[in-house]
Amino acid sequence: MTTGPAALPGLTARLLELLGPGGVITDPVRLRTYECDGLTYHRATPGVVVLPETAAQVAAVVRACHETGTPFVARGSGTGLSGGALPRTDGVLIVTSRMRRILELDIPNRRAVVEPGVTNLAISEAARPYGYYYAPDPSSQQICTIGGNVAENSGGAHCLKHGFTVNHVLAIELVTPEGDIVTLDAMDPGYDLLGAFIGSEGTLGIATKVTVRLSREPETVTTLLAAFPDVESGGVAVSAVIGAGVLPAAIEMMDALAIEAAEAAVRCDYPPGAGAVLIVELDGPAAEVAHEFAQVERLCRESGAFEMRVADDPARRAAIWKGRKSAFAAVGRISPAYLVQDGVVPRTALPAVLAGIEELSARYGIRVANVFHAGDGNLHPLVLFDDAEEGAAERAEIVSGEILDLCLRYGGSITGEHGVGVDKSRYMPKMFTAEELDTMQLVRCAFDPAGLSNPGKIFPTPRLCGEAPGVRKGVHPLVASGEADLF
């Protein structure tokens, strides 16, 4: 049997047998459709693309990859922003777009069983007639898939109160990197493999069926838009709200440059003259929300808000969110090119880190627009530059990288929701020691000893599993003899 890169032609023939011509893409032009995900400056044309329709087909494809030593990468809608679904030219790209059935909407058990290619929003839409929804709501929820959400442990604006994908997934059927179909269930005693799998960016296998928890629609949702003269006073308001013991569903902030971009793009009609706007959304029992809302309004006013708007119906709420939700795309209106950064800092460090970003911006002559999840310290600085200007792209890269250094210096993280992917693997050694990265490799090696599942992502220098570090004296004799099964 041929293995390694030379195996691809033979493997493709086998894939055609498994999936038929309609399920395999080999045409070079069509392959290029899949050469990148949402992070477009990393590109690679996949060796071959497959479009399986069932878990059994995914397992057959993965088994064929395993037998031939061929790397494989899973991809949903390709909305990822860290190059997590970047294909391999010497490998197979497994696209889940044909696996998009909602298999079961189980209201009495408050859960839905879906295939990985189902979009995030489709689950909530299916559940809404019954008064339920699926809580994690990444900004790309109209198009991103649940399989991708699982890979990235996606959050969204409302994860401050409601949590991330990992808090709402009850079970996952996955195809292991060796081609076995295994179910990880939150009810299983023992290691929380479900929790470890979610957010592993496709390096531990491919989810083929996801059981998610459905949440009851809250009795009341109230949204406040508050305009502040500057980011500092908005930050004071955020601290005051959290300090008062209020846990909003979301607290989002945009600075002047981000507001300018949003206005240019979608005319969101935010209060003129605002140096920062804060969106605070509260949800829950009406009696609680009414009380907390009065508190939030008072605290915003005391912190310097000069205009406030309130929405408690869907249309007016959408109007408030319009500017925030369009912010990323909108900066295209005020800058020829930009980088989206994704760093996290402890909430109390926000003022210092924002000042640090301003300083970086001034030092390198690069504008930075700030849009962020203020409640949980997740920053999304948009680093703007003119790609026609010589050296500007490089300076923007430097600023973007130094923002992450700043986050780490204040005890934060290099990614809050976009993932490490290929884009940030080089920053992992800044956040973790070699021993810590080696320890994470132990997990990888347990699931994927051959290192074929989305290789090159997350870890800068993956080790061979046979070379795992530490004291090793071989298998325990009792285990080797089959007398004991110790763990």
Binding site: F164, P218, P285, P346, G377, T415, L437, T439, A484, D485
Partner: protein, 420 residues
């Protein structure tokens, strides 16, 4: 150098084991009490040099959980790892050493008007023990379990490697979440020395709504309450015996707790009463002689999907009746994690019949049954039942602890051995 000499030369407090240091009946040779992660790593390295089997021990309240260790040379007692390392109230985050007890942590955080929204089901429990056993109480409905509140962890592996994962920010997706992996690991992957949690503000007001009924009526009301927009923080159930009345108690928290409690009371029916304090049994495992004492008999955990929660207590009652037993059932009715206690003098054969038949019935509804504790004479009982991902778990264990020295055999394996 002998193993004992090696342990002493680490400079960490190590003493010979005494009566009372047994782990589920297995006597160790030494007990080490490190005060820092670094000290723990020194001890673990010395243990690795001599192939010693190590069992981490916290407050000791759940030492009887899981199988007795197959080997135990060294107990790693975490109770001197008891400090709050960082608590930034504005960030609602605290980093603590694993040996801190629930009470000490609550006192430290309470001073700032905050709490770790995790119920410790036995008094004297430590944070590390709560993580290792994945135990949780009533608050799991609103705030999830330990895995949902843990945002960072520091562990020492069998070979002395110190590894940290996660961090001290709530939103973080950098690298694998080792904290989740270690949650529920019963000390078989390594030693947890530090944990970072997201915190919650202490609620302004609380109210409990309690209703008791002889039949399943009040249990049926659980679903109405759980799916109401009242957002209760907990819904618990207590059924002291197969033929005893069932009590359901719910907790609402927040400024408007009083008002919401009245709405909740209407949903729970005519017998509902509102009080400012929880029922005496709230947040405690059934079958405990006293708070802090481990269960003396059999403690079973029943996990079922919500729709089966209404029928699970009755199913347990039927299975107990068929085996000629009585069972005390208590637990989280809405999140569908219930505990069943059988008295210590239950004949092992009858217990096995009960476990097997109830497990079969719960499995058909997509549920699980785990036997956390059982007397030594019940060693034949399959404690964990079938687990779909057991093979993957075994591979994880082999990578983290290839020599099989960390609490060997606690998590599973007894059934395999007994069947061989």
């Amino acid at each position: 150098m002998t193993p004992g000499e090696s342990l002493v030369t680490t400079g960490v407090a190590v003493r010979p084991a005494e009566p009372g240091d047994e782990v589920a009946g297995v006597a160790p040779r030494w007990v080490a009490t490190p005060e820092t992660t670094g000290e723990a790593a020194l001890v673990m390295r010395a243990a690795a040099d001599h192939g010693l089997a190590v069992t981490p021990v916290g407050g000791g309240t759940k030492l009887s959980w899981g199988h007795p260790p197959a080997r135990c040379d060294l107990v790693l007692d975490t109770r001197r790892l008891a400090r709050v390392l960082e608590h930034e109230a504005g960030d609602l985050v605290a980093r603590v050493q694993a040996g801190i007890t629930a009470d000490a942590l609550a006192a430290a955080l309470g001073a700032a008007g905050q709490r770790l929204a995790l119920d410790f089901t036995t008094g004297g429990s430590t944070v590390g023990g709560a993580l290792a056993t994945a135990a949780a109480g009533p608050g799991r409905l609103r705030h999830g379990t330990a895995r949902d509140l843990l945002i960072g962890v520091t562990v020492v592996l069998a070979d002395g490697t110190v590894a940290r994962a996660g961090g001290k920010v709530v939103k973080n997706v950098a690298g694998y979440d080792l904290g989740k992996l270690f949650t529920g690991s019963l000390g078989t992957l390594g030693l947890i020395t530090e944990a970072t949690f997201r915190l919650h503000p202490l609620p302004t007001a609380r109210a409990w709504i309690t209703a008791t009924s002889p039949g399943p009526g009040v249990v049926a009301a659980v679903a109405r309450l759980a799916t109401s927009p009242l957002e209760p923080s907990a819904i618990e159930l207590d059924s002291p015996g197969v033929r005893a009345p069932v009590t359901v108690a719910a907790l609402v928290e927040g400024v408007a707790a009083g008002e919401r409690a009245e709405d909740a009371a209407r949903l729970l029916g005519d017998t509902a009463r509102i009080s400012a304090d929880p029922p005496a049994w709230w947040g405690r495992l059934p079958g405990q002689a006293a708070p802090g004492a481990g269960p003396a008999g059999y403690l079973l955990e029943l996990r079922v999907p919500p729709a089966a929660a209404v029928t699970a207590p009755a199913a347990a009652g039927r299975a107990a009746g068929a085996a000629g037993l009585d069972a005390h059932i208590r637990g989280s009715a809405a999140t569908c994690v219930l505990y069943a206690a059988l008295p210590p003098d239950t004949p092992p054969g009858a217990a096995e019949i009960f476990v097997t038949s109830l497990r079969t019935e719960l499995s058909a509804a997509g549920g699980r049954l785990v036997v956390w504790t059982a007397p030594p004479e019940a060693a034949r009982i399959d404690r964990f039942g079938p687990v779909g991902s057991a093979a993957l778990m075994r591979r994880v264990k082999e990578r983290f602890d290839p020599e099989g020295r960390m609490s060997p055999g606690r998590l599973t394996g007894g059934a395999a051995r007994a069947g061989a």
